[in-house]
């Protein structure tokens, strides 16, 4: 099914999608931080030692952005991966040289009341590091469209 485009009628609760991997490094963490989250613990290895994170850590929003990258490649939903919002948690920091992958599970399918050819998918996406620890847990509300 890897490259097959999936419409609403192709999906069911419990379906699982596993992404490829993405390797972070200190330069990527610092580049993202300079642009979007310029705080010592995300932007400078030495200063980061003396912070809450006790060492360089990726911005949570960087972990979220990398997760989205992995989702665009692993959720072959018709018309794209379109989110209305969601709930996000960062149980532990993402670190330089972490290798991330995402496991997504459809938890609920809620038909639209106003648009009979659409539904909202509640998709749980857990972002794991190379030690199989969860760095991010996202439950996103994604749009799904019928083919017919």
């Amino acid at each position: 099914m890897a490259n097959q485009i999936l419409y609403l009628e192709d999906l069911k609760v419990g379906d699982v999608f596993i992404s490829e991997t993405y390797e972070l490094n200190a330069n990527k963490i610092k580049a993202f931080a300079r642009e979007f989250d310029p705080q010592d613990f995300h932007s400078d290895e030495n200063l980061a030692e003396h912070t809450f994170f006790k060492g360089l850590a990726a911005s949570g929003w960087h972990t979220a952005a990398v997760t989205m990258r992995l989702l665009t490649e692993s959720l072959p939903f018709a018309h794209g991966v379109i989110g209305a919002g969601g709930e996000i948690k960062w149980p532990r920091p993402t670190r330089p040289n972490d290798v991330l992958y995402v496991k997504s599970t459809i938890k609920e399918i809620k038909p639209s009341k106003s648009k009979p050819n659409q539904a909202l998918l509640f998709v749980e996406s857990k972002t794991f590091n190379q030690h199989n620890e969860v760095c991010q847990q996202l439950v996103a509300k994604l749009l799904s469209f019928q083919k017919n």
Copy 2:
């Protein structure tokens, strides 16, 4: 208070923080999309016309990242803006040349059970465009630390 560092004892429910502004443009939207959310509606003006968004729109995670940038400049919390997670909604897309700002309100202060010198702040951050329409609504759980 603009540059004063705020500890837990300085904060109360109802406190409001207004950010500076940040101007998006098509090049920034496409650069973010190429790296993190390579879908037609975020990466190509022409292809975007024929999608759900009917024109180029920023990735929601780009709006979130810009919001974080504005929060780092507008929430002068001691030890930084450190989030454990939150709830996020994108009621409308962010578009090229939108000028964004963020209004943050402390909604709840929840003392930590295990760490008496810490609390979790529930901070609602609404990201507005230049028409005062909400592009993103985030309720983040942020760490706050006592000074004494």
